[in-house]
């Protein structure tokens, strides 16, 4: 089973409207983002199945990985 990448509203704007992508497990979040041409540093928060993780987290089968950016700011 592949994993899902979901994008928060603010990242969707950065990414031209996409809100969900299916990705292959087995790679880190950082590597996955890079392969999608998304600057990893734009992503402020990675949450995997509801728990915050680092970008070095290796995506597992069936994971839902939510990515957030802070566009409007703190």
């Amino acid at each position: 089973m592949p994993a899902k990448l979901r994008f928060g509203a603010s990242l969707r704007i950065l990414l031209g409207g996409k809100d969900e992508l299916t990705v292959e497990p087995g790679r880190s979040v950082r590597a996955t983002l890079a392969s999608l041409d998304i600057k990893p540093e734009l992503v402020a928060m990675v949450s995997v199945n509801g728990e915050m993780q680092t970008k070095d987290y290796v995506i597992q089968e069936g994971d839902t990985v939510r990515l957030m950016a802070v566009v409007g700011g703190g």
């Binding site: 979901r6 994008f7 928060g8 509203a9 603010s10 969707r12 704007i13 950065l14 809100d19 600057k39 540093e41 734009l42 992503v43 402020a44 928060m45 949450s47 509801g50 728990e51 915050m52 680092t54 970008k55 939510r66 957030m68 950016a69 802070v70 566009v71 409007g72 700011g73 703190g74």
Partner: protein, 607 residues
């Protein structure tokens, strides 16, 4: 008047009289509420050259039309005054339930003027308004006073209170409410202290009239639904503002050892999940908020309860002091809240003193015998207490880093991190030019809440100095503070990314006046220019030099972390200002031109 409590409460502390006047409809139309009311009354009523702690200064406390309504985040209260910290404009936003309660008592603003000869508190229960003796409360910490009022008057009363910091006129004293929400910045607590007002307690049972009930309910419900459907709701609620600690560390924005770097080698111990796991017990919201950022924590090591720490405090009381223990940060947070001093300015003051100590500018003689190295937790606690009481080293640090460093000299001015005398909030800006500009030009000093642009910096290129960045900063400066005008919170838009257009029909249904965001941004621009005119009115020679950031960001590249070796060039700092002034319609010295004043309809204001 639809959407308003309808009354302004004027409290003259010198002679102890309270009067009510109707909220002027034209002011409501043009300035809407909150921060808009604040600057309007400040410019109109506080005479030029007023001593911030003298009888002529006023403390203007305002709600806005979405405060206390069925609109997510309608719990923000604006506190405007002439700032003791900077001698310029101050407007501090306070969350919680105070602003809603003011409205239920029929009040849009409360204006405190004059000076009371003895400690008092302001009691408001619907139409009953009294100044009461507070001699027995004077000297007490904030939590104890709030608790005492809640026990005596009941949970329905909302309490705003100053601590010893405000009583001792520390120019960055804050006002506390709801056990952990503050009007934090610029010294609003000191102004309240100068007036000898220990607390304001308010309770109201009135309904707020709206123009169109059905549309209002529908529009309000729609914003709640958008928040609840937002992708980020669960994660945001779980971590609140601590969601960004790890990211700031990663991108070099986490202030470390008095802003000498933007990444902290022990930062991991301060990250959101660590805090959630170790100390957080309850999610705590402001009035009407579906996405509570308040993380109420039980701090086992120091056996205390505190709301927070949130991001700013983690940055300034944690990494900025070289402290990597989240429980120690929580304790420092609690001390600041309880004693009534702003965690951001206090963290800066201690960071500056630690650097003085490590550089040999201070010896133990200067630090009351404390070994004031970065990372010294116990010394940090001790200094917070000294600041609030203005004792020993605390008396110096209580001046704020600008004045303290001018007094000490020896190059310490170079690492006093402030703009216009206000200490910088928790984003390191060695290589993030839009964010640096946001700090330089913020209308209260180095604060992040008007405009925040780090992601934009990363997107466009951190060291790029281009007109788009400047335009972005200006747009945010006009628009974000509008939430403080409306009496609400910006984080539903910022963090959950809900569509700001959802507020348009809600605001119209409440007030009966249609305003698009274009109209609202325009109001924001007028207010921005008014605050600038206030600065210029109150400070001779005000201009470009006042917008300069701490030299740390253009002279000293960090020696470690994500921004190692990176720095903004001085010529770029100047270029940023040139572009900013041009886009704002200001002179090269940073003052609104006559044409700009005219086009914004502000001629009467300058006259």
């Amino acid at each position: 008047m639809n959407g308003y409590g309808g009354k302004i409460l004027r409290v003259n502390l010198t002679d102890g009289t309270v009067t009510k006047e109707p909220t002027p409809p034209d002011v409501a139309r043009d300035f809407i509420g909150g921060r808009g009311f604040g600057i309007y009354f400040l410019l109109k009523e506080v005479p030029r050259g007023a001593d911030p702690l003298g009888p002529e200064n006023k403390l203007i406390i305002s709600s806005g039309p979405i405060s206390g309504m069925l609109i997510p985040g309608g719990g923000k209260c604006d506190w405007t005054t002439k700032a003791p910290l900077t001698g310029g404009y101050a407007s501090a936003s306070m969350g919680g339930h105070f602003t809603a309660e003011m409205r239920y008592a029929g009040l849009d603003s409360i204006i405190l003027e004059g000076l009371s000869p003895k400690p008092v508190y302001l009691f408001i229960d619907n139409d009953k308004v009294e100044l009461r003796d507070a001699s027995d409360l004077w000297g007490k910490n904030t939590f104890a006073v709030e608790k005492q009022f809640k026990e005596r008057l009941g949970e329905e009363f909302q309490v705003a209170v100053i601590g010893p910091g405000g009583e001792n006129l520390v120019p960055y004293a804050c006002i506390n409410h709801d056990y952990g929400r503050q009007a934090g910045r610029g010294g609003v607590g000191a102004v309240m202290g100068s007036k000898k007002v220990k607390a304001i307690v308010v309770h109201g049972t009135k309904s707020i009239p709206v123009a169109d009930k059905d549309s209002y309910r529908k529009a309000g419900m729609a914003i709640y639904k958008a928040c609840k459907d937002a992708e980020g709701l669960k994660d945001w609620t779980r971590y609140g503002t601590t969601i960004v600690v790890s990211w700031c560390d990663e991108v070099g924005a986490l202030p470390t050892r008095n802003f000498s770097a933007g990444s902290f080698e022990d930062g991991k111990n301060l990250y959101g999940p660590v805090m959630r796991e170790k100390i957080v017990i309850t999610d705590k919201a402001c009035f009407g908020c579906p996405c509570p950022c308040g993380k109420y924590s039980r701090n086992k090591k120091y056996n205390n309860y505190v709301e927070g720490p949130e991001y700013e405090t983690i940055g300034l009381m944690g990494s900025n002091l070289g402290i990597d223990d989240i429980e120690a940060v929580a304790q420092a947070n609690l001390l600041c809240d309880d004693l009534g001093v702003d965690t951001i300015s206090t963290g800066n003051a201690i960071g500056w003193a630690m650097e003085c100590y490590e550089k040999g500018i201070f010896t133990k003689k200067d630090t009351d015998g404390l070994d004031l190295k970065f990372g010294n937790v116990e010394a940090t606690f001790a200094v917070i207490e000294k600041i609030a009481r203005r004792e020993g080293l605390g008396a110096l640090l209580a001046e704020g880093v600008k004045h303290a460093s001018q007094k000490i000299g020896k190059g310490s001015e170079k690492f006093a991190i402030h703009v216009k005398g206000m200490e910088q909030s928790a984003y390191a800006t060695h290589n993030a030019t839009a964010m640096l500009l946001a700090y330089m030009t913020c209308d209260v000093g180095a604060h992040h809440n008007r405009s925040w642009a780090i992601t934009y910096d990363l997107q466009v290129g951190r060291d790029k100095v281009v007109p788009e960045k400047v335009a972005r900063v200006i747009w945010l400066q006009n628009f974000r503070p509008m939430f403080d005008v409306l009496g609400g919170c910006r984080l539903q838009w910022v963090e959950l990314g809900i569509d700001r257009d959802l507020y348009v029909p809600a605001l119209e249904a409440i007030t009966g006046i249609h305003r698009s965001w274009e109209d609202l941004d325009k109001v924001g621009e007028r207010i921005w220019n008014m605050t600038r005119l206030f600065w210029a009115r109150e400070n001779e020679g005000f201009g470009r030099a006042w917008d300069m950031p701490s030299p740390r960001f253009y002279e000293e590249a960090p020696k470690s972390g994500a921004t190692k070796g990176q720095i903004t060039k001085l010529e770029d700092v100047n270029k940023l200002l040139d572009m900013y002034y041009e886009q704002r319609g200001w002179t090269l010295d940073g003052l609104p031109t006559p044409e700009t004043i005219e086009s914004l309809g502000l001629k009467a204001v300058v006259a």
